[in-house]
């Protein structure tokens, strides 16, 4: 019954250029972020062109949350979560300020990141608890430790001159933070798209059992991912501390949710396996630009918040998939009502 040269699965696979392009675009996950960015940029161009002429400022706002978001993306791609990133930022900063030596301080901060990542991974991999819970616990623990270690007061850095230098541009108008952010983006992007281990993160998030069965060392990948995320957060903490010339144990209150928003707007699926570093970058860009633009317009802060919330809500609700879902859900609900009323009328 079968043909001698193999089996026929219907029409031959699409090969034309247009098809190829359509398929490539169809696979991208960044659509929503690109659309949002486009809207934000156009509005900014019309309302407040200063957003562009002062792009280093906009960039550094993007980098502020964006760096943490990049690390978070790695974990989310694996189908896990790290709610402790903001606390890691803070604790790393506090650890950094424990020493007068900047280099040693940075090492301490990054070491803190490694330790936090390992602890998170330990609970997820070895103990086997859900990362949502493990890192929620760590959110409280690390914040508490930061307060305990700092005695709840800001710790100024000894080497203020270096710290202030650190906040100044080094490449053209770009400050070290922006340079590190861009570097982190490039490296992570290459890692996740080109490197074997990075690409396997997608398998770990997309179908963990399949990854295990195929011989991918899933546990090792998870550890790597959690450590990467925490180290990046710790790095962000070190940068914050240097740029501010002091470690603030109460900092980072807005980091967690903003970095989440950036990743999800960027098309990274919380269920894992779907999304990209590029998406997160674009997500961070659209949100950062929006914030800077609103600040510059001088609109009252409360109203700014309403705008930001509104834009976020629209962005997630006007996703093509969301609109499709809404159409069929509405049909379901309406027909449900109609069916019920006819039922009643006739029985």
């Amino acid at each position: 019954m079968s043909t001698p040269h193999g089996i026929n699965f219907g029409e031959a696979p699409a090969r034309t250029r247009v098809d190829q392009l359509r398929r490539t675009l169809g696979r991208r996950t960044e659509g929503r972020a690109v659309a949002l960015l486009a809207v934000v940029l156009v509005v900014a161009l019309v309302m407040e062109p200063l957003v562009f002429s002062a792009y280093p400022v906009t960039l550094s706002r993007v980098a502020l949350v964006g760096l943490v978001a990049l690390g978070l993306t790695v974990v989310i791609l694996m189908g896990e979560l790290d709610l402790s990133v903001a606390s890691t930022v803070v604790l790393a900063g506090v650890m950094m300020a424990q020493t007068d030596n900047v280099a040693l301080g940075v090492l301490l901060a990054l070491g803190t990141g490694v330790a936090v990542g390992l602890v998170n991974a330990f609970f997820v991999v070895k103990v086997g608890i859900n990362s949502f819970i493990a890192t929620l616990g760590m959110l409280f623990v690390l914040k508490g430790l930061a307060i305990v270690i700092s005695r709840s007061e800001p710790i100024p850095l000894e080497n203020i001159t270096f710290a202030i230098q650190f906040g100044l541009p080094i490449v053209g108008p770009l400050t070290p933070r922006i340079v590190i952010f861009v570097l982190a983006f490039v490296l992570l992007h290459l890692f996740l798209t080109r490197m074997r281990a990075g690409r396997e993160f997608y398998a770990v998030g997309g179908n963990r059992q399949a990854a295990r069965d195929a011989g991918i060392p899933v546990d090792r990948r998870l550890v790597t991912g959690f450590v990467m995320c925490s180290v990046i957060a710790a790095g962000a903490g070190a940068i914050d501390t240097l740029e501010r010339t002091a470690a603030d144990p109460t900092a980072g209150s807005t980091v967690l949710l903003s970095s989440f928003a950036a990743a999800i707007i960027g098309g990274v699926a919380l269920t894992g396996g779907r999304g990209s570093i590029l998406g997160t970058l674009i997500g961070a860009f659209s949100l950062g630009t929006l914030e800077v633009g609103l600040t510059l317009t001088g609109v009252q802060v409360d109203i700014q918040q309403i705008y930001i919330g509104g834009v976020l809500l629209l962005a997630v609700m006007t996703d093509p998939a969301s609109l499709r879902a809404a159409r069929s859900s509405l049909r379901t609900s309406l027909h449900g009502v109609r069916a019920r009323s006819t039922d009643r009328g006739l029985t």
Binding site: L136, G137, V141, K143, G309
Partner: protein, 339 residues
Amino acid sequence: MNQLAESPTVAAPTAAEPRADGPSIAAKALLWAAERGIVVFTVVLILASVLFVDGFASAVNVADVFHRAAPIGIVAVGMTFVVISGNYLDLSVVAQVATGAVILIGVSNSHSIPIAILVALAVSVVYGLVNGVAVGYFKANAVIVTLSTTYIGLGLLRWLSGGSIFFGPRDGTIESFGDIKLGAVPISAIVLVVVALVLGFLLSRTNFGFVVRAFGSNKEATRLSGVNTPVVVLGAFLITSFAATIAGFVLAAYSNTAVSSMSDGYDFGALAAIIIGGTSVFGGKGSVLRTVLGVVFVSVLTNVLVLSGVGFGWQQVAIGSLIVLAVSVDALARKVSKK
């Protein structure tokens, strides 16, 4: 509470099948404890506190524990619906509690208490509708949706109310209500119990609660069973909003004041209680009683730490560690029993 105690979600041990060769006694004990993890933890903690912490068992202190537990407990009980429906959490409870409190005091100062309550409940319906429609009908991510409504809600609250602190008249109805006590039990705790009883009944013994749990277990299977699933999500968010608004009332009555920042941290605080209680963050499994126990546990713990003069930092460390510990015991017990 009796009715809750009988709720099958808590009482029925899922691994109680008779077996040919069962796990070792130790593993059984661990599993037994894990199944009832939060009950055991809470009882042990309370017993230890009674024995070793001076003043813990006093009437005044019991009231303080209730004060700690009540408002966030009411929020957590409501949010349990959203968590069980598989939608992670509702961040906007922060905005909702504050809105409820500000409206209760602000509007009752200018109009009357019934009008204030009606307005607040109407606003809570709006919250529930926006969150529920976006998540249920548009299938938008619950974290981002409720983050957005938090921004919008707090922005509107501060913009429209001018953001001031509101206080009710001294010895007015609201304050007197907040001062009501039944023995050592303050009114806020009574409200918590009533809300927990009602919502516990709703979750464990009604069709609506049943489909919420089913939806959290498997969305598609529930839909294919003919359930109008978007409405289920909408309902879960409406209930959360309703509870958050009641929590706002309780908070306002307790202090006779309302500020837009008074409920900071209620989002993750409530989630922590829900999780410590043992409700699954993946949805499907859990109960209101478990959430109440989780809240009691955290409140007793915080209370004991304050009584012992432990600083804020260590309090946070202790709460975080216990979240991880409670869930780890459960996970380890499961592992042992599988071996």
